[in-house]
């Protein structure tokens, strides 16, 4: 490979591999094929954002022809949300669902795929997908993936996928995820938040209240469901001065006032979570600090 040739291509998205195999294409032709996607909004720029229905109603539509909406000042195209089906109405070309997620009500339209329907009679892969769809019932909870649209001053979501919720924890998961994303855009990533203040969003997890007090700024939050012992070991390692090699199990047990066996089990849990890693031997651990 010749680096000089590669340099010519460095402004394009093509990798050196293409140049090596093809023996060189004209830079001009590449620019020509690049420009349409640069001028027009491309699907490549799409993001998928978890939202509440209230956010969809509040979203700013910059102009009537815009293909995107602004939520918290951020361009949004594809969205996903979880809601309860209040009404289903079968139309000739689409199915319209009225969904309620507790923050508002939104109409969701899904086009009926004629080909897929006829494929049902054959009864293979398409048939199963159809069955899946039939499970969307009134008063049931579903997750929707789709695109927010404005039509005659009325908003609806054009759905790509509507899937019934099987595990109801997904409702809580979705609402918390929507909150996290909202806070990310309005207040910045959680790392910065830690530096500014310990309170605020961190407390919303509400888990392990006793250990929240022990949280240090900058130390990552352990996921809900982490055992108390693991949290204790984590905080012991975080709060004890140490070399690059981290702390030995003995030392953690001594400092934290814990049994060796307990520390070993907790350590295993933390290694599994990717919160700590082993250093010089299996029993010496350091924090896996991503910051």
């Amino acid at each position: 490979m010749d680096y000089n040739t590669n340099n010519n291509y460095s402004t394009t998205s093509y990798s050196a591999g293409g140049g090596g195999g093809g023996g060189g294409f004209m830079p001009g032709s590449q620019n020509a094929s690049d420009s349409p996607s640069g001028g027009k909004r491309s699907y490549g720029k799409d993001t998928l954002r978890p939202c509440t229905i209230k956010q969809l109603h509040d979203a700013i539509h910059p102009n009537p022809d815009a293909e995107y909406f602004l939520i918290d000042g951020s361009e949004t195209t594809q969205i996903t949300f979880v809601g309860q089906v209040r009404a289903i109405s079968m139309q000739t070309t689409n199915v319209t669902y009225k969904l309620d997620d507790g923050t508002g009500i939104m109409e969701v339209k899904q086009w009926i795929d004629a080909e897929q329907q006829s494929g049902d009679d054959g009864g293979d892969g398409g048939g199963q997908e159809r069955k899946e769809k039939e499970k969307v019932v009134e008063q049931g909870y579903v997750r929707v993936w789709g695109r927010l649209k404005a039509f005659n001053n009325k908003r609806h979501v054009g759905a790509n996928i509507i899937r019934p919720i099987k595990d109801f924890n997904e409702i809580q998961y979705h609402l918390l995820e929507a909150t996290v994303v909202h806070l990310h855009f309005t207040r910045g990533p959680p790392g910065e938040l830690n530096d500014n203040s310990k309170g605020g969003a961190q407390n919303m997890n509400g888990n392990g209240g006793a250990y929240d007090a022990g949280d240090m700024g900058g130390v990552q939050k352990l996921p809900a469901g982490t055992s108390a012992a693991a949290r204790k070991v984590y905080h012991t390692i975080a709060n004890t001065p140490q070399s690059h090699e981290g702390l030995h199990v003995q030392q953690i047990a001594q400092t934290g006032g814990m049994e060796i066996g307990e520390v070993l089990r907790a350590g295993e849990e933390l290694v599994g979570l990717g919160a700590i890693y082993t250093t010089v031997d299996e029993q010496t651990w350091a924090l896996l600090d991503v910051n």
Binding site: I105, N169, L176, M204, G206
Partner: protein, 109 residues
């Protein structure tokens, strides 16, 4: 907006009297047309005919908070045995709903 039904639990009832709310709790007692559910505290609910509550199941209720902080059920959804639901997450959602209400409901001024 009348379309929103904020998620609350027992401590929030007073703040939402005469409003329509959503409560996810555990069914503790069934007494004919009344029931007690546990959602951050005991809540007395008045059932409607369509409500089929089951003991020790998680249930989501949409209802109106009465003067005495009991809740008149308008709709209910059975969410299976209570062990299937992570109530830490449910509490976190209620907390987030009111802490960051701008994405969940309009606060009355």
């Amino acid at each position: 907006m009348t379309e929103s039904t904020p998620r609350v639990n027992a401590p929030y009832l007073e703040q939402f009297s005469h409003q329509t709310v959503r409560i996810l709790g555990k069914v503790r007692q069934l007494r004919g047309e009344q029931a007690t559910i546990d959602a951050g505290g005991q809540i007395q609910v008045h059932l409607n005919r369509d409500a089929h509550l089951q003991l020790n199941h998680a249930v989501e209720i949409i209802g109106k908070v009465q003067n005495d902080l009991s809740v008149k059920v308008m709709a209910s959804t059975d969410m299976g045995p209570e062990g299937n639901i992570d109530f830490n997450a449910v509490d976190a959602v209620v907390d987030a709903t009111h802490r960051y209400n701008q994405i969940f409901y309009e606060k009355e001024q």
